[in-house]
Symmetry: C2
Subunit: 439 residues, 2 copies
Amino acid sequence: MGALPQPAPAGACRVGIAGFGTVGQAVARLIRELAPAELQLTTICNRAVERKRVADLGDVRWTDRVEDLLDGEVDVVVELIGGRVPAEDWIRRALDAGKSVVTANKQVIAHAGPELLDRARRAGRHLRFEAAVGGGIPVLRAIEDGLAGDRLSRVAGVLNGTCNYVLTRMEGNHRCSFSDALREAQALGLTEANPAEDVDGLDARAKLAILALVALGLHVRPEEISCRSIAAVEPIDFIYAKRLGATIRQVAWIERDRNGSEPAVAAVGPALVPAGSRLARVTGRENVVIVSGEFGGETAFSGHGAGGDPTAVAVLSDLLAIARSAAPPRAPRAEPSAVSSDLVGPQYIRFTVADRPGIIAELATVFARHNVSIDAVLQEPGCPPARLPFVISLESCAASVVNRAITAAASLDFHVVPPLVLPILRPAPASGAQAPGAV
Amino acid sequence: MGALPQPAPAGACRVGIAGFGTVGQAVARLIRELAPAELQLTTICNRAVERKRVADLGDVRWTDRVEDLLDGEVDVVVELIGGRVPAEDWIRRALDAGKSVVTANKQVIAHAGPELLDRARRAGRHLRFEAAVGGGIPVLRAIEDGLAGDRLSRVAGVLNGTCNYVLTRMEGNHRCSFSDALREAQALGLTEANPAEDVDGLDARAKLAILALVALGLHVRPEEISCRSIAAVEPIDFIYAKRLGATIRQVAWIERDRNGSEPAVAAVGPALVPAGSRLARVTGRENVVIVSGEFGGETAFSGHGAGGDPTAVAVLSDLLAIARSAAPPRAPRAEPSAVSSDLVGPQYIRFTVADRPGIIAELATVFARHNVSIDAVLQEPGCPPARLPFVISLESCAASVVNRAITAAASLDFHVVPPLVLPILRPAPASGAQAPGAV
């Protein structure tokens, strides 16, 4: 349409919603219920919009043309259509038309956030995306503003409520397998359309990339963050984890090098976390984000990471921030940053073998050849010898070295199931100083 | 001095610090270390300032005259002298002289916050006080902005790290008495100059009054919030609490009436909280603030509630917010609000008696006369009959009714120690709906 940028409105800020699904409907209802003087819902855009039309939203324009969001009756576009295409393009068009944008779209911001923020800055408009990470938890705002006075070095979190539901179900009931727990989560409507997005970590890594941008000023490409699936975790792993004073969570974390000379280390996947730690204490669908600052130490934010209403609260808070502020805030500037997944720390390896004499000796030889020290060998009694799970925990070493050792051990003849390697995250020291992989 | 209001600076925002103790020094060091382009430390004011002077802060004016903070070389005054007098007056003078103000002073804001915010609004200046609640946890900012899109109904928190240290020490070691644990906290430098401020709840209730203002828009006078000391809690109470599936924390909470027809209910004091709940999971000196919204459900913020560096992070974040924003935000407006302490819920009462037959019967008669239902009677084996602690838990009833029953029971002849009454806070329901006293 090429509409010219509109001046900021003298009166209420006029809102157009793109995408009238669960979250879009919740946003509209919240605006109606709370009726903030600063906001006026003027336009709702959805494909085949007639089947979405509801009577109680008052004088709203219903449309299926994105162009109607770019005209003079809209000051802020709320993008809730999801997915990268065509959402990313719509956001660009809205910014270019002089609209501010609020979005809950984690994939778009994870991939194109820095470019879109730059575009917003040039247009003198806002781009806000609190709802893209942690649903109703106002973590981006708290980091960006409330921890502005610290030098942040690390973010760790449980960012996917579905994985956390599945893992805490298995933790609570050792007869509940991964697939049982996942089926439960699906029955409760917790999973994405494609559950691999949750289970394999793609959802969490998009959120981690956004946190890296806002908290650490790093522009990390989500594809470069190593992801490991929680699908290989078995109930027996919770029993062994407990013997090691730990439990298992899908953890997303990124940590910058203190001197800035090495790339940041980032990963998403199942990990052993100390029993009683902040990450372990997150149960069910809850999310938590833990931020470590050089001066303020650890600060944690937890709550409902998803759901129509909590997400709508985040969208509405962004809308109010735009309506109440004269000028857009300084957007975080970030240069593209490489990340490594080569975390150094202790490791948990669960082998499942057809038992025979000499297995430990053969594995010990492989680890010795790779210069890796064994910390402990654990074996629960009562398991069938034809499919015997046991655990070797390793002293601190680089993940890459462990992977080489595991590859070498793969040719041994006793494996029934491929070995499962999980990093063991350690408690953060009491002082401000951070150990690598500390939680 | 009557200096005229100064225009906002074209360049960096010039900062004057009043009070160069632990936090003041940490703020100065943080500005030097992080060197944000938006801030310039120009003035440090302290009594007998010569003994405070340090060489590494560069070109700073050292003074013991508050008037030097009100002249043309200062845009923002950071008030860190503590106490109400003369801090409150200094803040007024600074605002009247056209300065913005950042303070960590919980007592001043709890008592005079609404008036000072109004004064700041009229002067077109900022008044920020993130450091007054929860030290380094950016909870006020997160509530004010990040949860702006919700209707908040309840705030509950562990707001005093000293009390939490003492109670979690007693929880972890049943041979550690209240006075042992308090002595430890004092040796670690955790307590206020007068430990009664912590132990009796005066510190926590000032913070609760500030949270009530920011989260609920209620102007509650701190004196009207009922406080009960943790000093009467004994190790045996943790044993009984555990039998009831709970532990004990100093909890500060306030909850508004849903219809706005009744006054809000607020209190500070020891309470039973469900084992594994967010309040129970706070250990050591940690603080947590849990906010309940009608749409977003519960959101929790936890971290270092005190300490020079975390508090300085909060001060610096406030300074950056002022330096980066064109206009002061809308200050919360609040009319003076009455509060009730008459929480309705189940109750825990620990009696310590010289044992003889008939005690339970006599107490049961008193409770029956007050129309209060007994839920359970618990008695640990192995206690000396001359000083026998046992517990009666009551079904849900108003605190005022229980207090009347306890007063009536006080005349009975078997008490060795006055009974200890603790409210039993219940887990919040999974849905958005809140039960009274839910945690």
